[in-house]
Amino acid sequence: MRPDRLVFSLPSALAIVALLLGGYAASAQTAAPAAGACKVNTPQGAAPAQPSAPNVTTGIRITVTGPDGKPLQRKRFYLLQRSARASDADAFSAAPRREEFLQGASPQLREWLAKHDCDTLYCPEYESEYADAVKTVPEFKRAYEEGQRKYHNDKLALKWITVNFPLKNVRTEYFKRKRAWLEQAAQKAGRVSSVMTDEKGAAYFTGIKPGGYYISNLMPLGTGGILWDCQVTALPPIPKQIHSVLVELSAPRQQAAGSGN
């Protein structure tokens, strides 16, 4: 007798889905990060690279745009002596991911974190949102009640909610591990300095010696996401200019996905 249609039992179906998801996750982790684009502009008046006096310093200005074409704000970029990609290509798969630090978190907390765009619970812009979080997220509710019990002051209990937050690993562990990972990666690639982009997605590397460098975010933006690894030559200083080179870093349009790093 030939079956008319293929019938799966529920456990088999779940197992297949799990395998597929596992396979996707594994491929996402091991896939090489996508390359961010780099455009190096040399302002008028820049002299070609040549040996200069040891005390001469120059500057590089960077502007970074995300996949949506908007300035990429509050992201750290590194000036390196070596290529980040070449320094330790395998390390990207070992980069910490926030979901690894959510053990014991309620589904509501996971959802709240997913909606909020900060590495930790400490972004001051959250303060105005704690009152709502207390109503919907069990961990915030517990922290608030603990604060009320200690301080007998509702406003203070809300303001100091992170102090009494029950899951310490959720609060800052991801940040700490990420920072340590970045430090190590930067060291391997010959860290010169690092900057954080401002509201215009811009930043300066200043006081550097003319010569060859790489500029990178080191940790790919999103799992299997974008990695900038831009080779740049810092030219000798131009009179009346802060920087001798402008590097425009941009992401491939609308390709980033998954959890962010």
Partner: protein, 396 residues
């Protein structure tokens, strides 16, 4: 007979002079050295000491005293102080160090000074009246508001500088995921998109907002008054209220509130955290009607006292357009806060030979007339020699 009487009188005179003069010498020397009676007795019994210990002024407390530094901070400062609920209004109150240490913190070493006479000098460290029977005290240095208005605050310079790792705090507030919409891959975690409209805070403005003077300058300022535009300054999180909500000892992040030295670093003798004044001084602040001690400190360390952050064209530029080192630094110090004059010339705003912009104009006027004072950006510096950075910026 007459001759004999005269000789006797002379001898008597010499003898009395020899007796009196050494006493004059001794008493003059002992008047200079302290404590006088002990030294005189010491001289009589044993050889004179090589050097005398400098007199200690017990009316002034210093953290720099070696013996004080040997103690941990919390051996004197209890966290929180018993009076924290009264130190601020109920709405603003939070556990904090808001009172002097107890007598018990001092008395083990200073018993002698505590019980010296009816008016022990050591009482003046905290008490308004030097007497064992009265309890009136000066306001404690924290909260700063009440203390800064008190008599004791006049001329007081902190012995500490603030150790604030700017980069670490920036990283704590780094964006987890940029605000772009993820598309193209089926298993997108779409929940990482930002939810709705957030209040417009980004990067620097998370912590630094425009400061609006409480006492706005009068429409027609009095003679001699200085008008600094509203929006000249940006705020900086200051005071324990900005720190303890994350660093409180009962579950917070290190350094904890009880670890004072985690943030406060003792300065070497003779150094003060606030500069005495650069382009502006304390009189400038008074003329401008600025009373907030934190804003005064900001004014004093400025190279350009009159620069306004809120001016239309300044607002539209990114913060790092001028503060080019601010995101690269680990600790805040003078060097990293400094704004190079070349940043004023971006797009030819303030530096350009044709049409002549303000820097070119004022430097030109100064070269023609040494008494000319630059006023566009400066107050005190406007009278000083034009620095090389400015001359280079306008050079052809």
């Amino acid at each position: 007979m007459k001759h004999r009487t005269l000789t006797l009188a002379t001898l008597l005179l010499l003898a009395s002079a020899a007796f009196v003069c050494p006493r004059f010498v001794t008493s003059n020397a002992s008047a200079k050295a302290a404590p006088a009676p002990q030294q005189r007795r010491g001289r009589a019994r044993r050889p004179a000491p090589v050097a005398t210990r400098p007199a200690v002024d017990y009316t002034k407390f210093s953290h720099r005293v070696a013996q004080h530094q040997q103690e941990t901070c919390d051996s004197c400062h209890k966290t929180p102080s018993a009076n924290w609920t009264q130190a601020r209004d109920h709405e603003a109150a939070f556990p904090d160090i808001t009172d002097y240490p107890e007598h018990a913190s001092c008395i083990n070493c200073h018993r002698q000074q505590f019980f010296r006479g009816a008016r022990p000098a050591i009482c003046a460290v905290c008490h308004t009246v030097v007497s064992p029977r009265t309890g009136g005290r000066f306001p404690f240095e924290n909260p700063a508001g009440a203390f800064s208005k008190s008599e004791k605050a006049k001329g007081v310079q902190s012995e500490f500088s603030l150790n604030f790792p700017h980069d670490r705090h920036q990283d704590v507030m780094a964006r987890f995921m940029p605000s772009f919409k993820a598309e193209g891959i089926p298993l997108v975690r779409a929940s990482f998109e930002p939810q709705g409209e957030k209040k417009p805070v980004d990067s620097c403005s998370i912590c630094h907002q425009t400061y609006h003077q409480q006492n706005k300058p009068a429409a027609t300022p009095a003679a001699g008054a200085l008008v600094l535009e509203d929006g000249t300054f940006k705020t900086t999180p200051s005071g324990h209220e900005s720190c303890f909500n994350c660093h409180w000892q009962d579950g917070g992040e290190k350094p904890l509130a009880s670890d004072c030295a985690g943030c406060h670093r003792l300065l070497p003798q003779g150094k003060t955290p606030a500069p005495p004044g650069k382009d502006a001084d304390a009189q400038t602040a008074a003329k401008a009607g600025i009373t907030d001690p934190f804003i005064i400190r900001k004014l004093l360390r400025r190279d350009s006292a009159t620069f306004s952050h809120e001016e239309d064209k300044h607002q539209s530029r990114g913060c790092t357009s001028c503060h080019i080192n601010i995101t690269a630094i680990s600790l805040l110090d003078e060097k990293t806060i400094k704004v190079p004059v070349l940043t004023c010339g971006g797009s030819g705003c303030h530096i350009n030979p044709r049409p002549k912009k303000i820097l070119n104009e004022e430097v030109g006027k100064r070269e023609a007339d040494p008494t000319f004072q630059c006023t566009k950006c400066h107050i005190n510096y406007g009278k000083a020699q034009v620095p090389k950075s400015h001359l280079d910026a306008v050079s052809k």
